[in-house]
């Protein structure tokens, strides 16, 4: 039944965009509403469990299977919401919490974007290298996979220490660059793997065709491999965006960069006992930044729609 649309013969020549767009808009709206409903259900579950669940959680054989319901562990949702509207501290000049978190989010997003760019660039270059030279692929790919088993917390101080040794002319390494670099360490991975798959994705048929046209490697890359890889690249870029945000937050904590979400998470943690709503604000901030970043990359997909025509709807 879901095949209907795909099987329908293409309307010869021109399509009528307006009606289609309206329909798609409607579907989109419905999806958003259902998604919102999902969130509401989750919120209701939270409050319901908090109301009915035992204070010490559901413990079976010494293992806590369901969480504790104390105000410390599961603050009421309205406590979190109210807290966001209040000032960060009692000081006269204190900004409201939401504003501070928003500023932190933007800061983190900015660094994550730089990390993403670096990661994507490195990932693409690696993929090109591996696509071009089979030996490079077999020698490097396992190490790329392995690289992701090294915990960031071990790398972060190294990166900062080495970065601070760099000082060329007017350029001097700053802490935020270390954070961006660590973010790129997570971001490059999906891109290199995805791009490699994408670059090797063209049919033998198409590769033969380019060969028949006596097209060189660069021409084949530009005319065939890159366009063909778009379908693989976009999910990889989205994954990289989420990873870049995660990496940024972790690195902010790790090397203590001020201004971002990671720092707020650490600093508000101390208030967890006396002000249980406060630590949740940067957590939601970090989720929002992640979704925003992933959504942003989704936008890129819109511009590259042309290159995804070959894909069958999942």
């Amino acid at each position: 039944m879901t095949r209907t649309a795909e099987l329908a013969p293409p309307a010869a020549g021109k399509t009528r965009p307006t009606r289609g767009q309206a329909r798609r808009g409607q579907a989109q709206l419905r999806r958003i509403l259902t998604g919102a409903l999902g969130l509401i259900v989750l919120a209701a579950l939270w409050e319901l469990y908090k109301l009915l669940g035992p204070a010490d959680g559901v413990v079976v054989g010494g293992t806590t299977l369901l969480p504790r319901t104390s105000d410390l562990a599961m603050p009421h949702l309205w406590v979190m919401a109210e807290r966001v509207l209040e000032p960060v501290t009692g000081a006269a000049a204190a900004l409201p919490l939401w504003l501070v978190v928003l500023q932190g989010s933007m800061f983190t997003l900015g660094i994550a974007a730089v990390g993403w760019l670096v990661g994507v660039t490195v990932g693409l270059l690696l993929a090109l290298l591996m696509q071009r030279f089979r030996l490079a692929e077999s020698a490097v790919l396992p190490w790329i996979v392995l690289s992701q088993t090294v915990p960031l917390i071990a790398l972060a101080p190294l990166v900062r220490r080495w970065g601070s040794q760099i000082e060329v002319g007017n350029f001097s390494w700053e802490s935020w660059m270390s954070v961006a670099l660590i973010a790129s360490y997570l971001a490059f991975f999906p891109v290199s793997v995805g791009a490699l798959r994408g670059l090797s994705s063209p049919d033998a048929n198409h590769v033969d065709l380019m060969h028949c046209y006596a097209a060189g490697w660069w021409t084949t890359l530009w005319r065939l491999r890159l366009p063909a890889s778009v379908g693989y690249l976009l999910p990889a870029l989205r994954l990289a965006a989420a990873s870049a945000v995660i990496g940024t937050v972790v690195a902010e904590v790790s090397i203590g960069l001020r201004g971002g979400i990671g720092r707020l998470i650490v600093e508000y943690a101390g208030a967890a006992g006396g002000d249980p709503g406060k630590p949740w604000a940067p957590i939601f901030g970090s989720i929002a930044v992640g979704l925003l970043a992933a959504g942003f990359v989704g936008l890129i997909g819109l511009f590259l729609r042309r290159f995804r025509r070959g894909e069958v709807a999942a």
Binding site: P9, P10, A12, G13, D203, N205, H206, D208, L209, H211, C212, Y213, A214, A215, T219, R223, L224, P227, V230, R306, F307, R308, R309, G310
Partner: protein, 277 residues
């Protein structure tokens, strides 16, 4: 075996001399896809390759196109080594699958070879329009491949193979995916186009009527190892003169029967079916 065709003074379009191709599998086993195959195609001549699956038709075509290199023997295209001919773009090629780039429009796909070889934008446009007209897709120039039926896609691929007016066309089962009616229509168009451009054609097919209908000569191949079993001059009149009625002609059925028998390994006895019953 009749392998020479009267070709006048010009170099033959294709000259395959004692070519073998052995594939070595990963497990050490080797497959002799072609064994000592020789074949000459004259300029402007239409030659079909027919034979059971795995007899090496595609392999031979790929060797001519320099998409693969022979284990032994030599291949010359218009008197040059195959590699040179490929670089000089002496041939156009169409595969069994249309192989269009899904992100390019019909026009964009047809322009591709011209673009790669540095033709100017205006020239490309004009040539593409001409070819689209030729294959009867004028209303679809700006459509994307996924908006076309299989037959239409195949026509685009043929137009693309003609883009640089090659004097040699290599086609590997280009009509394999089409339904009978569309297929016949495409065959008629191919006959017309070849008449107009007087290109030589090497045409791989599984269909006996198709081979007979289109060709000057039909090359019947046998598998394991891939060899040329026989070459049958069909000569149902000059390309340009052949028309729709030919398909219901007695000589047509006669030739079909002959090719069938060759394929089944019998000596061609003449149209036994028709004459002895």
């Amino acid at each position: 075996m009749i392998m020479e065709s009267a070709a006048g003074g010009r170099a033959p379009a294709v000259e395959v001399g004692g070519v073998s191709r052995v594939f070595t599998g990963r497990k050490g086993a080797s497959v002799t896809a072609l064994d000592d195959v020789s074949l000459t195609v004259a300029p402007g001549e239409f030659v079909s390759l027919i034979g059971p699956s795995g007899c090496g038709k595609s392999t031979l075509l790929r060797l001519i196109a320099d998409l693969d290199t022979p284990t032994a023997g030599s291949i010359r295209v218009f008197g040059k080594p195959a590699r040179q001919a490929r670089i000089d773009q002496d041939y156009g090629i169409a595969f069994q699958q249309a192989g269009l780039l899904p992100w390019r429009t019909v026009a964009g796909n047809i322009e591709l070879p011209l673009e790669l070889h540095g033709a100017g934008k205006a020239a490309r446009r004009a040539r593409a329009a001409e070819l689209i007209e030729l294959v009867g897709l004028s209303d679809f120039a700006e459509n994307y491949p996924d908006q076309l039926s299989g037959g239409m896609q195949q026509r685009v691929a043929i137009a693309r193979s003609l883009a640089e007016s090659p004097s040699l066309l290599l086609m590997d089962e280009p009509f394999g995916a089409l339904d009978e009616m569309t297929r016949e229509r495409m065959q008629n168009e191919l006959v017309r186009i070849c008449g107009e451009t007087s290109a030589a054609v090497v045409f791989v097919t599984h269909s006996i009527p198709e081979a007979v209908f289109l060709s000057d000569r039909v090359v019947v191949m046998s598998p394991r190892p891939g060899r040329i079993r026989d070459v049958l001059g069909v000569g149902l009149g000059d390309t340009a003169e052949r028309g729709e009625n030919l398909r219901e002609d007695e000589a047509f059925f006669h030739a079909v029967s002959q090719v069938r028998e060759l394929l089944h390994g019998q000596a061609p006895t003449g149209a036994r079916g028709v004459e002895t019953r």
